[in-house]
């Protein structure tokens, strides 16, 4: 018997404890913001192939109507978030960087914005796995955790793989973010529907919802609704960053390590974000498409921080106006402060991947000198993958990117940023690693 397992706490080793900054928004019930007068919907809002537009300029569309179809298996359709008129199909700036083709819709302000509805289907658990996965694809569902990976692709498990457990990630370990927290409190029934759909798709007999122990109210809210047969359980694990990473979650909940370079399915796990499954649980029975999501808008100089239901394509400037942002200089971040992405302009729209809009002033904009590494080993004690960021950083400075990959496991870094967070010398370690990974990828492509 493994003695260490006996004393194992419900967490992973290493990682960091962050200030949470969740009190501003975590008790605020989700509210809907008004519709923006114009929405910009990039055709590529998911990992994989962009959707193909099937509308033309001047066409009237109804809220919930399909405006772009999936282009292959690694793609999902796009539904119109509003009733209105197609203004253009044009190139637009996106938060993900660069310019991409997008459908621009003028909102019909006189319309009541009624959602296109069809009959509620209650037979979705009776249909075959293939049909169910197809139905998930039709909803345009992507992982709402941030990566926007098409959900149906994740549900398509290879024939030779056996999934024993579905893990539902309700950790939301990044500071400031509270959307998952709200979903778990407000959408329990939908979440359980979604979990059953996922279990059916991957043929797993068991599901575990993992939450961090700073959200115990969720535990109390969900527990009474769980099935009595024990097939779906909920477990609180220690609050620590990056607990929400797949590898960390698998280890904290089950003591299972996902082997380096392999997917979670190789150890019999399918891992989904709570918000994703709750949304599937709502959309699938109603035969609807994904058109909006809950977004936490929070940070400095905001009069009304909170959790808002926001249609995709809403410009950031519109959002900030409505939450009463007042400030002159700031970092504008889509996502959390640890792994989010800074955006350059307020013209950009929210997409399926936008779960948090965070504004930070001096906290983020203050710049300190970068000093030499003093080998204090804090980064080693923080890295959840047990890499050696100190050595990797020194190698990056020497441009020894191949050594970083071959000897120091650069590929296993999932860019959580713990090393940069704790570095006394202000070395932007995780940024070095991102650059090194990109350069290595290019080199491999050239080498064939």
């Amino acid at each position: 018997m493994d003695l260490f397992k006996l004393f194992k706490k419900n967490t992973f080793s290493h990682g960091i404890h962050l200030d949470e900054y969740k009190d501003e928004t975590n008790a605020k019930t989700t509210r809907r913001l008004p519709f923006a007068p114009e929405l910009t919907l990039p055709l590529s809002q998911n990992t994989g192939k962009p959707a193909k537009a099937i509308v033309h300029k001047g066409q009237q569309v109804t809220r919930g109507e399909i405006i772009a179809v999936a282009d292959g298996f690694m793609s999902v359709p796009l539904h119109s978030p509003v009733t209105g008129t197609i203004k253009a199909i044009d190139i637009a700036k996106t938060a993900e960087g660069g310019k991409q083709p997008a459908i621009i819709i003028t909102t019909a302000l006189s319309s009541g914005q009624h959602l296109l509805t069809s009959d509620i289907r209650n037979d979705y658990l009776q249909i075959s796995r293939e049909e169910l996965i197809q139905a998930v694809q039709n909803t345009g569902m992507v992982g709402l955790g941030g990566a926007a990976f098409p959900s149906h692709v994740k549900m398509k498990i290879p024939a030779d793989t056996n999934i024993h457990t579905v893990l539902i990630n309700g950790c939301e370990c990044e500071p400031f973010m509270t959307t998952d927290h709200r979903v778990m409190l407000e959408r329990v029934e939908q979440l359980l529907h979604g979990i059953r759909i996922a279990m059916k798709c991957v043929a797993a007999p068991k599901a575990i919802i993992g939450i961090e122990d700073n959200k115990l109210d969720v535990l109390h809210a969900i527990e009474p609704h769980l099935p009595t047969d024990g097939s779906i359980t909920i477990k609180a694990i220690i609050t620590k960053y990056p607990q929400g990473a797949q590898k960390m979650l698998a280890y904290a909940l089950l003591g299972i390590e996902i082997p380096s370079g392999q997917r979670s399915s190789s150890v019999g796990l399918a891992i989904f974000n709570v918000a994703t499954l709750a949304k599937i649980g709502a959309l699938l029975p109603a035969n609807q498409g994904l058109i909006e999501r809950i977004v936490t808008i929070t940070g400095d100089n905001i009069a009304h921080p909170g959790n808002y239901l926001i249609p995709f394509g809403t410009p950031l400037s519109f959002l900030l106006e409505h939450v009463g942002f007042k400030g002159e200089e700031a970092s504008l971040i889509l996502g959390g402060p640890m792994m989010g992405m800074a955006v350059r302009s307020l013209d950009m729209p929210t997409t399926k991947a936008t779960g948090t809009v965070l504004i930070l002033d001096e906290r983020a904009t203050k710049r300190d000198d970068i000093l030499p590494c003093i080998k204090c080993s804090r980064c080693l004690q923080a890295c959840p993958i047990h890499l050696n960021p100190s050595e990797l950083g020194l190698l990056a400075a020497q441009r020894q990117y191949d050594v970083m990959e071959e000897k120091y496991h650069l590929k296993d870094c999932f860019e959580c940023g713990c090393c940069s967070y704790v570095c006394p010398s202000n070395i932007p370690l995780v940024q070095y690693f991102r650059i090194a990974k990109v350069l290595n990828r290019e080199r491999h492509l050239q080498d064939g």
Partner: protein
């Protein structure tokens, strides 16, 4: 809100950071050394105080000078040079001539730090480089010990302290005989053990009522200062722990073989500045390993070498050489002790 009014700052994640700065870490080490300096001055009087001031000033000025020379921003404010100066003074005899102390400070920074590229790039602990240099240059002065708690220590310098540069220091034997309390031999516990087979009581070693280098006599005080640093999370406790463990295990081996011939582990751990070296010298972040296993190997190596040099070498300054060897071995140790990454063992099994 007019869109054009907002100045957007672009950078990469993480956008928040929370870490003590390098200067904060260094300053905390300085704070931890202050009680030792005070105790040293209490024990040895104004000579010790003068020595501390001279070595520290020498280190700081050297650092400043080389920064100016290479047209870099002066790194004098990060307090790392202050640490080197304090550490150096703590390892020298209290009556060490001041001009030699100044040279020691210069060598420590110039050869131990600047030569390698400054903070973060030194292979060896700079203070020990300085000490090793003057150990070779001034072997007599560095092994001349004076008694603690002399009556006039606060009004009178130890004669050797004020020796003129490149002149032979005044012999301290007469002075020592004059102020010595009862039969002070001028020998440190290690020398007594090594050359005369006399064991000093571990109790005296622990509380520091003995002859020895300026700041390394009281194991208890050093431990307290060490705990402060660990508490503030400014010191990786594993390094001193590994060094003490390595020393104790190695000493225990010999003690077990022949307790009449070899000293006990307790004596070994508490004598000759080992405690000081373990807490403040071996733990020099820059020159010690960062990997968990590497730290353990490093500590054991330092402890083992200390015991071997003490028992079989011709010198008593064992721990200094042991740490310098350990520093030299650090890159090698590190390259063989990379941590097992998450998910790696399972993969190996699969193959």
């Amino acid at each position: 809100m007019a869109k054009s009014d907002l100045k957007i700052d672009i950078r990469t994640s993480p956008y928040i950071r929370k870490a003590p700065t390098v200067a904060q870490i260094m300053r905390n080490v300085v704070y931890a050394l202050v009680p030792l300096v005070i105790y040293a001055v209490y024990q040895f009087g104004i000579s010790a105080l003068a020595l501390v001031i001279i070595t520290t000033l020498s280190c700081m000025l050297t650092e400043h000078f080389f920064c100016k020379m290479s047209a870099k921003k002066s790194t004098i404010t990060d307090a790392s040079a202050v640490i080197t100066g304090l550490l150096l003074a703590m390892t020298l005899p209290p009556g060490f001539p001041l001009w030699m102390g100044a040279i020691a400070g210069f060598t420590a920074i110039a050869m131990g730090k600047t030569l390698f590229g400054g903070l973060g790039f030194n292979v060896f602990n700079p203070a020990l480089v300085g000490r090793a240099f003057i150990q070779a240059a001034f072997p007599v002065s560095i092994t001349t010990w004076t008694p603690a708690l002399a009556t006039d220590r606060f009004v009178e310098f130890i004669p050797s302290t004020l020796a003129l540069p490149f002149m032979k220091p005044l012999p301290t034997a007469d002075w020592t005989a004059q102020v010595a309390l009862d039969g002070f031999s001028g020998a440190t516990p290690l020398a007594l053990m090594k050359f005369q087979g006399i064991m000093t009581d571990t109790y005296d070693l622990f509380f520091g009522t003995i002859a020895g280098s300026t700041g390394e006599t009281s194991s208890l005080l050093i431990l307290i200062c060490g705990f402060y640093l660990v508490y503030r999370k400014m010191l990786d406790w594993r390094i001193p722990a590994a060094v003490l463990f390595g020393t104790a295990i190695s000493a225990e081996f010999f003690y077990f073989m022949d307790p009449t011939k070899y000293p006990s582990p307790g004596f070994m751990v508490c004598s000759g500045g080992l405690m000081f070296a373990a807490v403040f010298m071996a733990s020099d972040m820059v020159a010690s390993p960062v990997t968990p296993l590497g730290i353990f190997v490093f500590g054991c190596l330092v402890g083992f070498l200390t015991v071997i040099i003490r028992l079989f070498g011709g010198l008593t300054e064992a721990v200094m050489y042991a740490i310098l060897f350990g520093n030299a071995a650090t890159p090698l140790i590190e390259s063989y002790t990379q941590p097992r990454i998450y998910g790696a063992r399972k993969q190996a099994k699969d193959k």
